[in-house]
Symmetry: C2
Subunit: 131 residues, 2 copies
């Protein structure tokens, strides 16, 4: 699993880790059923504390991306297993985030068409297979 974190970023480490794992799932680098590394091994690889990895796993579990099987470890969840309420909450959260970004873009003087084009361009990048 390809993960790199920036110690001197303002974004919390566990959220960086969360985003990277979600990206790995999105791009097919991690598939449903795959086992995630143990918190200790991943923490060691990244040079961070095991609690930070554990917290990232916990939020991914809360969001339905992974399932924890006790000491057996964490596994990538099947998208069809994402709870209904969970999925809706996630979509609502994403909608709000996109709308906030669009408002920022407009406040900067950008046009609606430019924003949509920009979003489409980033979607293209997000939906590439590998890099």
């Amino acid at each position: 699993m390809l993960v790199r974190i920036d110690q001197k970023s303002n974004e919390p480490l566990y959220l960086q880790l969360r985003s990277q794992i979600i990206a790995s799932i999105a791009q097919g680098d991690l598939e449903p059923g795959d086992a995630l590394p143990s918190v200790r091994s991943l923490a060691s690889d990244l040079g961070i504390n095991l609690h930070t990895v554990n917290k990232a796993y916990a939020v991914l579990r809360d969001e339905g991306y992974v399932v924890m099987r006790g000491r057996s470890g964490a596994y990538v969840a099947d998208p069809s297993d994402h709870g209904e309420a969970q999925a809706e909450a996630g979509l609502a959260r994403m909608d709000a985030a996109i709308r906030a970004l669009a408002l920022e873009f407009r406040a900067h003087g950008g046009s609606k068409e430019d924003f949509i084009a920009r979003a489409a361009a980033q979607a293209d990048r997000a939906y590439e297979e590998e890099r």
Copy 2:
């Protein structure tokens, strides 16, 4: 200026305030040159501490949305006055945020077309005049 904040949200108050002021600028409720309320009056209106409002204003100043004129108060900046480097940094930040959202959407099993449609729908809402 129409601003409402949610005391029991997990999002920090000063960031909520920042988003709402950006939204007001985006929707034309606040225009370049307009004076923002004093930190004291706005804090009083919202029932929060003046330091919290002051922090929101400071962030908006750092991002180029408003200019502070000492004791005269805070004023909405002209978009054309946004520094070049500042504007580019903002766009880069927004691109990264949109790409991260697209990756989340993909990890949930959503298609690229659906994501773009969703982004366009939120852009429509962000570019409405008033509500």
